[in-house]
Symmetry: C2
Subunit: 452 residues, 2 copies
C-alpha cells in the first residue's frame, strides 16, 4: 500500500501489519535500534519506521544510506498524543537498492543553486516535492476550471510558421544538416519556429466553439538570465467569442481565486511548508487576494496615481509609457493593497491585434498586477474590425505572411473576442512564494543551460 492510503484511513490500520515501499530520507542507527524516515512520494511528510535487533539483517539495515529504496513489513502503532500520530515497528526490511555514500542529496539543507544542478534528484527533497506536487494539482485545477465552464481545450501547434506576437525571439526548428540553410529543402519546405503563443490559433477555434483555452508549452529565445525568464514555459490562454474586456477580467479574476482556493484545500501540508520555509507572508498575502474584488484602473489614471504618489521612483512614471517593476509594486502593495487590473493601454506599447478604443490612442488591453509577482496575466479584446486590423499592421510595417488566415477570420463572421495569457510558472511562483522560475520547472531551459 502507499503512505497516502495509510494516512487517509489511519485508525483502520492500528495494530495491523502492513507493507510499504519507498525511499529512505534519513536513518538514525543506534546500537540496538534505529529510526528510518521513509517517503514513498505519495505524501509530503515522512513515515517513521522503528527497527531493532529483532531484524535478522539488523546490521545491514543500520547501514542503509539516504536515498536507498527499501520494502518494509511492520505493524502500525497509533500515537495520537504525539505530533507524529503513528509509526511503524518493522518486522522485516528488504533493501531494494542502496544509494551508496555518494548520493548527492544528504539529509541536510542544500542550497537551491546546488539542487538545480541535481534536477533529476531534487524532487526527492521536501521543498521540491511540495513544489512539483503543487504544480501537478494546479495544472489539473486549470483544466477543471475551464472544463466545468464548458470551455474546449485546444492543443494549439508547437511548430509554427508565424510569429504570433510579432516580437521576434523565436527558435528555429529544422531537420537540415548543420550549416545548411536552404529551408525549401527542409522538412516543412520553409523556415518554421517554436511557438510563442497559442492565441492566434485559439481565436480561430473560439469562432467555432465560443469558449476555448490552450494549455501548452511556449518558447522565447530571449537571452535573459533573470529569475523570471525561461526559454521554455507553459502558458494558459483562454479565448472567448462574444466576450468583451469586462467579461475577460471576470474570468481572469475567477480563475486566479479558484487556483488559490484549490491550493489551500488540496495542499495544506505544502502551503504550510511554503509559508514556513519560503515566505512567511505567503498565506496572508494569498488570503488577502481571495477576500476582495480585484481593483480596476485605466493606464492613464494609474500614471496619475504614480505621479501624485509621495514616493521617489528610480524611473519616472510617464503617460504613454510602460510601467516599471517599482511602479507595479507601488500600485499593488501601497496604493490599492490588492491585485489590480490596468486597462486601456497606449496602443504603441501593445500588440497589433488589440482592439482600438474610440480615443484612437489606447487599446482594450489589460494586465493583472499582483503583489510579489507583478504582471500575472496579460490580455485584451481583439480587433475584430478587418479594416482597422489591416491599418494597424500597415502602421507597424507587419506583413501578413503566415497569418493571412488569422486576418481572414475577421471576414468570415468574426465576432467580438477576448482572451488572456497566464504564464503557468508565474502562477506557481505566486502561489508558492518561490522567486526563481528555475525552481518551479522540472528541467528548466535557460541561456547556455539545457542539461538533462
Amino acid at each position: 500500500m502507499t503512505i497516502k492510503e495509510l494516512t487517509l484511513d489511519l485508525e483502520k490500520y492500528g495494530d495491523k501489519t502492513i507493507t510499504l515501499s519507498g525511499w529512505v530520507r534519513s536513518n538514525r542507527a543506534q546500537k540496538e535500534f534505529g529510526f528510518i524516515m521513509l517517503n514513498d512520494g505519495t505524501k509530503l511528510t515522512n513515515t517513521q519506521i522503528v527497527y531493532d535487533l529483532d531484524l535478522s539483517n539488523f546490521k545491514d539495515v543500520q547501514k542503509i544510506s539516504v536515498g536507498s529504496s527499501i520494502k518494509v513489513i511492520g505493524k502500525v502503532y497509533l500515537t495520537p498524543e504525539r505530533k507524529q500520530t503513528y509509526e511503524i515497528k518493522a518486522s522485516e526490511i528488504t533493501i531494494i537498492k542502496d544509494a551508496g555514500e555518494n548520493f548527492p542529496i544528504q539529509a541536510k539543507r542544500h542550497t537551491r543553486e546546488f539542487l538545480r544542478e541535481q534536477a533529476y534528484l531534487r524532487p526527492r527533497t521536501n521543498l521540491y516535492n511540495a513544489i512539483f506536487r503543487t504544480r501537478s494539482v494546479l495544472a489539473f485545477a486549470v483544466h477543471q476550471f475551464f472544463q466545468d465552464k464548458g470551455f474546449i481545450y485546444v492543443q494549439s501547434p508547437i511548430i509554427t510558421s508565424n510569429d504570433g506576437e510579432g516580437a521576434g525571439e523565436m527558435f528555429t526548428v529544422t531537420a537540415l544538416k548543420p550549416g545548411e540553410k536552404d529551408f525549401s529543402k527542409d522538412f516543412f519546405g520553409k523556415e518554421v519556429f517554436l511557438t510563442v503563443t497559442g492565441q492566434l490559433h485559439a481565436e480561430a477555434y473560439a469562432q467555432a466553439f465560443r469558449n476555448v483555452y490552450t494549455f501548452g508549452p511556449t518558447f522565447r529565445s530571449e537571452n535573459s538570465n533573470t529569475p523570471t525568464h525561461a526559454a521554455e514555459f507553459w502558458m494558459i490562454e483562454p479565448e472567448m467569442a462574444f466576450c468583451d474586456l469586462n467579461g475577460n477580467m471576470e474570468i481572469a479574476e475567477e480563475m486566479v481565486k479558484y487556483l488559490i482556493k484549490v491550493a489551500f484545500e488540496k495542499l495544506p501540508e505544502e502551503m504550510e511548508l511554503f509559508n514556513n520555509f519560503v515566505d512567511k507572508s505567503l498565506i496572508d498575502r494569498l488570503e488577502n487576494v481571495l477576500n476582495k474584488p480585484f481593483r480596476k484602473v485605466k493606464h492613464h489614471d494609474a500614471i496619475t496615481i504614480l505621479k501624485e504618489a509621495n514616493q521617489k521612483f528610480e524611473y519616472l512614471p510617464e503617460y504613454g509609457k510602460d510601467l516599471a517593476k517599482e511602479h507595479e509594486k507601488y500600485l499593488t502593495d501601497v496604493h490599492f493593497k490588492s491585485p489590480v487590473f490596468i486597462t486601456d493601454w497606449p496602443k504603441d506599447i501593445k500588440a497589433f491585434y488589440m482592439r482600438l478604443n474610440d480615443d484612437n490612442e489606447t487599446v482594450a488591453a489589460v494586465d493583472l498586477l499582483v503583489s510579489g509577482s507583478g504582471e500575472l496575466i496579460g490580455g485584451s479584446q481583439r480587433e475584430e474590425r478587418l479594416e482597422l486590423l489591416e491599418k494597424r499592421m500597415q502602421e507597424l510595417n507587419m506583413h501578413s505572411d503566415g497569418i493571412d488566415w488569422y486576418i481572414k477570420l475577421r471576414k468570415y463572421g468574426g465576432t467580438t473576442s477576448s482572451g488572456f495569457g497566464m504564464g503557468f510558472e508565474r502562477m506557481i511562483m505566486f502561489v508558492t512564494g518561490i522567486e526563481n522560475i528555475r525552481d518551479v520547472i522540472s528541467f528548466p531551459r535557460t541561456p547556455k543551460n539545457c542539461d538533462y
Copy 2:
C-alpha cells in the same frame, strides 16, 4: 445565454424570450418567412430560428450568408412531439458580421481533404466540431483518470539534449542564424532537439513521487506521409515505481476502458455522429472492448498462432521479428476478437532501457493491439540493474552523453519501474473511427506542411 444552457433546462425557458449569439450554419429564406440554423459552439446540434416579415430588417436577414455571426432575440417554442424539440421565433436579429458569399464552408458536404486546407475554419463543421470536442473531453478525462489515482503530472521538457529512444529522427532547435553551425555559440551552447519522449524524465520523477504521468507534445522528423504519422503529436506517458509489467498492463487496460466510458457518457451526440457518418461498426467495436478483459500473449506464442493460422499473409510471421499490420489485424480481429497485450518481445527489436528477461533473449516489453488502430500503447518494465543497462548500451554502441543522469538513477536507490506511452491522437482515432491523423489535430504538421 448559450445553447447548451438553454437545452440543459429547456422546459424552464418555454414561451420565454431569450437572447442567443452564434454563427449561421444555413439560412433558408422563403418569400414571407425563413429558417436559420444557428450554432454557438457550445453544442453539436443546431438551433432552428424562425423569422418572418415582423422583423424590421426582414430583407437583410433573408440575405444573411452561411458563416455569419448574429445575435437573436426570440421566444422559445417547445415542440416535444417533434424530433427537434424546440425552436426560436425571432423578434429581433442583429447581424454582427456577415461572412460574405466567399465563405469557403458552405452548407453542403465538403471532402475532408478540402477541409484540411481550411484548418482554421473546419471546426465550424459538424464533423470537426464533434472531433475536437471529443479531443477536449478525452484530454481532460486522461488527467482525471491519473489525478484520481494520485499520479503527479510532470510537464517534461520539450527542448532536450538527448535522444530518448535512441532512434534519431529528431528536429534540431536553434537560435543561430541560417547557415551557421557552431552550436557552442548557440542559445544553449550545444545542439539541442525537440523531444521524442518524456519517459526518461518521467522515470526520474517516478523515483521521487512513485506514480507520475506526462501529457505533452512530442516530435518526429520522420519523412512519412501516411494516415497515421504526424511530425507533432501529443503523448501520455505514465511511469510507476514499485510496479512490474503486470501492474503496467492493469493500468493501461483500465485507462483505455475509462476513456471509452467517458466518451459514451459525456459525448452521446458526437458518438452517434461518428457511428452514423464515419464508421458504422464503431459503437459495437468499442462496446466489445469494454465488455471483457483484454487478452495477453507472449510474442513467441503470438508468432506460433500466426504460423498455424489458416491464412495467407503477405509477410511471413517470424520468431524474433516484428509484427506486420496484417498480423496485428489477424490477432485482434480473427483470433482473439479482443484487444490483446503482446508481451516479452525479442530484445533486438525493442529499446535499450527495457528489462531483460531471464531467458536473456526477450525483454519485459508490451504492446497493446486493438482492432482498427493496431498498436495503441507501447510500454515496458525498465531495466533497473545498472550493470545490465550499461552492458546493453555497449552492445548497441550507445554513448551516455546527455543521459548519464538517467543511468545514475539506477545507482541512487532506483527501484522497479514500469510505464507506457500512448499517442493521444491514436486514441482519438480509435474512439471516433477517424482514419487520418490529420483530422484529429487542430493544425497538423506533416512533411512539407506547416501552414497556419
